[in-house]
């Protein structure tokens, strides 16, 4: 069947903001889908609230709506655009759920819109726990004994029959939110209640716990003709019990005999067929390691994180093919892009091993619970490819940017055997290092298998590595052994560190191609990974394909983490495209499987490698670039700068020295002094004692942070000596030897400027103003473009300072500058001569292709030659507001109070003709509920008690009933407001927690002088609000903004829609 002739216009729904469990993989999928649809001549309408994505670029679709992903807004879009079909399976859980609701309500039918990819029945078969169970039983596919229930009682009864432990999985939640393993009745009461609360349909599945079984996944595809194929099998290093998103995963499955493999493959195909899915599907199995018994754990009838991984692991473009299938094509009608000769209907075969390693946020969130379970906690992941498991694993570990170049860990080595065993049983993010250490100490494979249920095959591989480490420690370094070490993934640096050798002779990498077919066909995929083998395919590929074009290498941004998200992939990809347009042959190096940058179609050549000097050195050797680009890959790429410049490898754009000048405190201070620009007073300290002296000299509050940071890592505002002491201890234990910066903390209006400089002139696309005052990390602030409350004079000063700073730092390309205005004085807080988090958003709303211009500038073009002029670009007739989105419900124990340490995982955009409407849309898109009645619970620290009065009055005037804790109540009552007193947790049974649970509270305003520790009452209240889904404002400015928005009375009917493709400038 070719293209469905009824289709002329298709709506693609994206996945919204990046949250844990739903990251850049859907931008990759959505971008592929949009392209695949446009290729067919279809008119594409895109809806996604996330402005940092590539898919929301005006060029990706014919109509782009960066609007809240709510039913109301989607209906508005559908009514306006009148698409013929909706692609439901490429926007993650968000896109799927929304599509299903639209269909269920009968809205799609009424509008004459067809649901493509999966119909409502299919979605329900996979998503609704009971229907899923019934479907599996009907087709005789085994599932785990379970019960679907809406009550706690039902859960308890079932657990009594099948015996503990049991697993709780709430229906329709993302990444297993609200689920967990209960070992006892007490635990089940807790987990089941929370699960019921978090499920939008108040339904949970309670199942027998089969922790310890192997966890195997299959990515399968089906077309409308019923053809089914398997794309990839994957096996979790960590057995069932740890969410697959938090597991180390290998592809293909490595410990299955053909009988087991084929049994599960057939089952996966049987399931996709029974569900009549048209497109991609992910099936997760649990396999008893001691028999052929298996159970289907989960089916996702859509593209997913696993499908992105499978696409990158095999080279098979799942999302692209899924999109083509959804619009009517059969698999044998879709060309295989890799061979160019065959069709998409084949099963990839691998001649390498892929390892995926998760990236967790615990380095930033020291108080968050690190234990891994059924709820995903990783923010991102890296993938690596090797000819052996050991090589792939070590590449993944060093690419994850977790301060490990190998599996040894000083902290674990110092542990007693008992603590080590405890650490292994704790199942946290560091378990692999603990397991390695135990094997190194001589624990038997059998014992570790009993402790962890990790398959003996993996453990034996770790023992291989242990033996190599031991041999290294003896210093026996002959050339054969070095070669073996390199083949097993050791770097020269690691070999030297473990053996004590000063240096070793460099063995060059050779590169192998990822071609989906194990070399059976002549593929032309420009997709490579490093190995130590004889033939170098990249070298011959380059030779065969060598045009006359000069080569440029772009370094990507590695795994997604707090502070370094999808924005940097957006920037990297745009840089690649701009370089291609400028006539260069472009090479990209990156190791994040979720991204568009690692699509082998993005650059001319892709190297899937960690971004460390040793891993990129040979790429540079064979590619012989005329330039390299580090400015768009976040801190990951910036970290390569020094090495590149020391090795005289040309860096395009801002010179390495300028990056250093902006980051080195001494040099930066001197520069500001020269330019007569003020910055908050501060100094550098090494020890706790020095920090205390400095803090008292500067006067509290002060800001403490380690030098060289991103995303406010370990950054705090200290109000007292006790705060300083506590944080110095934490910071120094995490990064010994690092300098700590201590600054006077300035209260005031925070502004952010992204500018492009060609060395002579500066173009400022826009000035953004933060709603939250300084002190809240810029990534967590609500940012408004254009700045709304600064004077012309202040604006001129900002332009003047930005221009001076950019030029004197010899910037060639992008620069991001953060300012604070306090008492009409403009201070510079931070300067980063590179791409920033706000670039994609600003590019979209100003219509200035910032990355393209920056890239051109890096190549030597002048701003004056380009059509956008210099100086401050005129503001757009829209207000565009970036609202941060958090993943607090996934990270138990983490205080939600915002501060200088970044906590958000993603963002949404609200764009509208007025600021209040933009804010309404932004907050709505970020998940806030809007209501004008009910209650507001207020509990603020002493320093906020004056200011809260006016804010509380606004809420009271809107018709809210006020509730407050004792101190706050007094302050409000003194001001004449009517308040109900609520006791603190330790004061009474009827307290802040019980009032939250009562359902009387719609919003919480909570600030506290101290936070962080989950044991504090204020943190408990905020955590509870997360669990209950009650918006909790931890900044007074945000509270004001929300009140203002509520006052304006916007609702979906009276809100406007803005098509990004038709923005008027």
């Amino acid at each position: 069947m070719p293209l469905n002739p009824k289709l002329k216009k298709v709506l693609v729904i994206g996945s919204g903001p990046i949250v844990i469990g739903q990251a850049a993989e859907f931008d990759y999928a959505g971008t592929q889908a949009c392209r695949a649809l446009k290729e067919e001549g279809l008119e594409v309408v895109l809806a996604n609230s996330n402005p940092a994505t590539i898919m929301t670029d005006a060029a990706m679709a014919d109509h782009v709506y960066i609007e809240p992903l709510t039913l109301d807004f989607l209906k508005k879009i559908i009514k306006k655009e009148k698409p013929d079909g909706i692609l439901s399976t490429l926007g993650g859980q968000t896109g799927l759920t929304l599509s299903m609701q639209l269909a269920k309500e009968g809205f799609l039918e009424e509008q004459g819109v067809i649901l493509l990819g999966a119909n409502p029945e299919t979605i329900a078969k996979a998503e609704d726990r009971q229907i899923f169970k019934d479907t599996m039983e009907a087709i005789r596919e085994p599932i785990i004994p379970s019960v679907v229930t809406n009550t706690l009682d039902g859960a308890l009864k079932f657990a009594h029959t099948v015996k503990y432990p049991v697993i709780v999985r709430p229906a329709y939640t993302l990444g297993g939110t609200g689920g967990g393993i209960a070992e006892s009745e007490e635990e089940l009461r807790e987990i089941a209640s929370s699960g019921l609360r978090q499920s939008p349909i108040h339904q949970i599945l309670v199942e027998k716990c089969i922790s310890g079984w192997k966890e195997i996944e299959f990515e399968v595809m089906r077309d409308s003709a019923g053809n089914v194929i398997t794309i990839c099998s994957m096996e979790n290093f960590d057995p069932v019990g740890i969410h697959t998103g938090d597991s180390i995963v290998v592809a293909p499955a490595l410990t299955l005999a053909d009988k087991e493999y084929q049994m599960l493959r057939s089952a996966a195909l049987h399931i996709i067929d029974a569900m009549s899915i048209e497109g991609g599907c992910n099936v997760q199995f649990a396999l008893n390691p001691e028999s052929f018994e298996y159970a289907v754990i989960e089916v996702n009838p859509r593209v997913s994180r696993s499908s992105a991984l499978a696409s990158k692991a095999t080279g098979y473009p799942i999302a692209r093919v899924a999109a083509k299938i959804a619009i009517g094509y059969r698999m044998d009608e879709i060309a295989n892009e890799i061979t160019g000769k065959t069709k998409a209907c084949f099963e990839p075969t691998l001649d390498y091993v892929v390892v995926k390693f998760p990236k967790w946020p615990f380095d930033k969130f020291v108080y968050a619970a690190r234990q891994l379970g059924t709820q995903m906690k990783a923010t991102g992941e890296v993938m690596s490819i090797g000819r052996s498991f050991e090589q792939a694993l070590l590449k993944a570990v060093r690419g994850a940017e977790i301060s490990h170049d190998y599996l040894d860990d000083a902290k674990m080595r110092a542990m007693s055997d008992a603590s080590l065993t405890e650490k292994i049983l704790a199942k946290d993010d560091e378990r692999i290092f603990a397991i390695y250490e135990a094997l190194y100490r001589g624990y038997s494979i059998k014992k570790l298998h009993e402790l962890t249920m990790v398959d003996e095959w993996f453990l034996a591989k770790l023992v291989n590595l242990c033996n190599m480490e031991k041999k290294l420690a003896k210093g026996e370094l002959d050339s054969d052994f070095i070669r073996i070490l390199k083949q097993n993934g050791f770097t020269d640096k690691t070999i030297c560190r473990l053996s004590g050798a000063k240096s070793i002779k460099r063995l060059p990498y050779s590169y192998k191609m990822v071609d989906t077919c194990g070399a059976e066909f002549d593929a032309q995929t420009p997709y490579f990974y490093s190995a130590y083998d004889e033939e170098d395919e990249a070298a011959s590929f380059i030779e065969e394909h060598a045009g006359k074009k000069p080569v440029v290498i772009v370094f990507g941004s590695g795994p997604i983490r707090i502070g370094q998200g999808i924005e940097f992939d957006y920037a990297s990809v745009h840089c690649v495209w701009a370089l291609k347009n400028a006539g260069y042959e472009v090479v990209i190096v990156n190791n994040n499987p979720e991204t568009v940058s690692t699509d082998f179609n993005t650059a001319d050549r892709l190297y899937f490698e960690p971004l460390t000097p040793e891993d990129v050195a040979d790429i540079i050797r064979i590619e012989k670039p005329v330039g390299t680009v580090v400015a768009f890959g976040g801190q990951t790429a910036i970290r390569l700068t020094k090495w590149l410049s020391d090795n005289h490898i040309p860096i395009l754009g801002t010179p390495a020295d300028s990056i250093d000048a902006a980051e080195d405190r001494g040099r930066f201070e001197a520069l500001l002094k020269d330019l007569h620009i003020e910055q908050p007073k501060g100094t550098t300290v090494h020890t706790r004692a020095e920090a205390l002296v400095a803090a008292n000299t500067l006067g509290y509050p002060v800001l403490l942070r380690p030098s060289y940071v991103l995303g406010g890592q370990n950054m705090i505002i200290a109000f007292s000596d006790a705060d300083v002491s506590e944080y110095m201890d934490i910071i120094l234990s995490h990064m010994e030897g690092n300098l700590v910066l201590i600054d006077k903390y300035m209260m005031g209006t925070e502004l952010e400027v992204d500018a492009i400089c060609d060395g002579e002139d500066v173009l400022i696309p826009g000035i953004m103003q933060h709603i939250d005052r300084a002190g809240i990390h810029s990534g967590d602030s609500i940012a408004v473009y254009p700045a709304w409350s600064i004077t012309e004079e202040q604006k001129e000063k900002l332009v003047d300072y930005s221009t001076k700073l950019a030029i004197s730092l010899h910037t060639k390309g992008l620069i991001n500058i953060q300012y604070v205005i306090s008492n009409d004085q403009v201070y510079v807080i931070e300067v980063n001569p590179r791409s920033s988090r706000t670039v994609p958003y600003l590019s979209k709303v100003t219509g200035i292709p910032m990355i393209d211009i920056a890239t051109d500038v890096m190549l030597g073009r002048k701003l004056k030659e380009m059509p956008y002029g210099t100086g401050l670009y005129p503001s757009a007739p829209y207000t565009a507001i970036k609202v941060p989105v958090f993943s607090f419900e996934k990270l138990s124990g983490l205080d939600t109070m915002l501060g200088p340490e970044m906590k958000s995982t993603g963002e949404v955009l609200g764009i509208a003709p007025t600021m209040s409407e933009a804010l309404y849309k932004g907050l709505l898109g970020a998940g806030y509920n809007f209501t004008n009645k009910g209650g507001v619970l207020i509990t603020v620290r002493d320093t906020d008690k004056q200011e809260i009065i006016g804010i509380a009055k606004e809420y009271a005037d809107l018709g809210f009933h006020l509730y407050a804790t004792e101190g706050t109540t007094k302050a409000l009552r003194d001001a004449g407001l009517s308040v109900t007193l609520v006791h603190k947790i330790h004061e009474s049974e009827q307290n802040t927690l019980s009032i939250l649970e009562s359902g009387k509270i719609n919003y919480i305003i909570s600030t506290s002088a101290k936070g962080r520790s989950p044991l504090r009452g204020s943190v408990k209240v905020r955590r509870r609000s997360v669990e209950l889904g009650i918006p909790c404002l931890t900044s007074l400015d945000a509270a004001v903004a929300l009140a203002e928005t509520l006052k304006c009375g916007f609702h979906p009917e009276n809100a406007s829609l803005v098509d990004i493709c038709k923005l008027q400038h």
């Binding site: 003709a225 299955l256 209907c345 084949f346 099963e347 001649d351 023992v463 059976e520 002549d522």
Partner: protein
């Protein structure tokens, strides 16, 4: 202790690797072929169709789950030598009985590992299957020339059963004669599971001898080598086709049946060996992923009028299946019995049963 071992190809290329498996006493000369299957090495090693060949596994980690005799497709290993990137000496699986290295030693099959198997695969893909020599001493370049003269001989005769035997079944619904040209055991297992009583007969059995067994159907097995090496069998098959007994041919059996009906076969450049070959069934337009292991194929343009092309390989459009109008018979080039490989075309065995029961095919 690790020993160096060399693989010399007919074009002069030489790979130095590490020896594993059984000791190599005399040099081994064999045809070098590659398989892209990622699992199922036990089945591959025991597949008699690999007679006279050395097999390169494109997947680099072999031996992960050890060896289990329950996975054997014949009584032992029939290939000449084994080529892998890495082999696993610490396997893990609940059914594992021994590791790969020990098994190869027991079976007397030497192996070479730690060579650039991808480079070797590419070479075969580009230049076609080639003969190779496995030797413990560094070979002289001039020795490569004589390798081209060697060819696989007496392939079927070497792997077929010596005499016929029966696989009894509780309630016999059909009696099938399995003509063994080097049969994988799963063919018999599949028939058996469908209630067939199977009589396995050696390759040199005549048409009359087969007819005397009064079969309800005849199964032509897979097997090694050039189909045209088996002219006597083809002659017997010609006779057999004149009786209206249902016939089902797999792989070599498919090729022999085609030859008997006047079609021609040809050698493919590097064959189809793996578990991911897509084939299109013309009658239903459905695509199946199949397990394959063959170096020769039936030439589609040589099919006589009585033969209808039923399956085509989606990668290279070669003939993958035929049905015959002149007698109730059909055949496929791929392996519906799987092991190793996908079970997607298992339904063909049921079709064979249907045919024996006189149902419309």
């Amino acid at each position: 202790m690790e020993k160096a071992i060399y693989l010399q190809l007919a074009d002069g290329t030489c790979y130095k690797g590490t020896h594993f498996g059984a000791p190599l006493v005399d040099d081994i000369i064999a045809e070098v072929v590659f398989t892209t299957a990622m699992t199922g090495y036990t089945e591959t090693l025991t597949d008699p169709s690999y007679y006279g060949q050395m097999v390169v596994q494109t997947f680099p980690l072999i031996g992960n789950y050890g060896v289990n005799t329950g996975d054997f497709e014949s009584n032992g290993i029939h290939m000449s030598a084994y080529i892998t990137k890495e082999f696993c000496n610490a396997p893990s699986n609940f059914r594992c009985q021994m590791d790969l290295d020990s098994w190869l030693k027991k079976e007397g099959i030497p192996g070479i590992c730690h060579i650039d198997t991808r480079a070797l695969t590419k070479k075969i893909r580009q230049e076609g299957v080639m003969n190779g020599r496995l030797t413990m001493t560094e070979p002289k370049p001039e020795d490569a020339k004589m390798l081209s003269d060697w060819s696989i001989k007496n392939a079927v005769r070497s792997v077929t059963c010596k005499e016929s035997y029966e696989i009894p079944v509780g309630v016999t619904e059909h009696h099938v004669v399995l003509w063994d040209f080097g049969a994988k055991q799963n063919i018999a297992r599949k028939l058996h599971a469908l209630g067939c009583q199977v009589t396995v007969v050696p390759a040199h059995t005549t048409c009359e001898e087969i007819l005397s067994l009064k079969p309800d159907g005849i199964m032509l097995s897979n097997g090694p080598g050039n189909p045209k090496e088996n002219l006597a069998i083809v002659e017997e098959l010609k006779k057999l086709c004149t009786h209206k007994i249902p016939i089902f041919g797999i792989c070599l059996g498919h090729q022999l049946l085609a030859l008997a009906n006047g079609a021609d076969t040809e050698k493919l450049k590097y064959g189809h060996r793996g578990a991911n070959q897509p084939v299109l069934e013309h009658s239903t337009k459905k695509i199946y992923i199949t397990s394959q292991n063959h170096g020769y194929a039936v030439k589609t343009d040589s099919l006589p009028e009585c033969a209808k092309l039923t399956f085509t390989n989606l990668n290279d459009d070669t003939c993958e299946g035929i049905s015959y109008q002149s007698f109730p018979g059909f055949s496929v080039q791929f392996h519906p019995e799987a092991c190793g490989g996908p079970h997607d075309t298992e339904y063909l065995f049921q079709k064979f049963i249907d045919l024996m029961e006189g149902r419309e095919f």
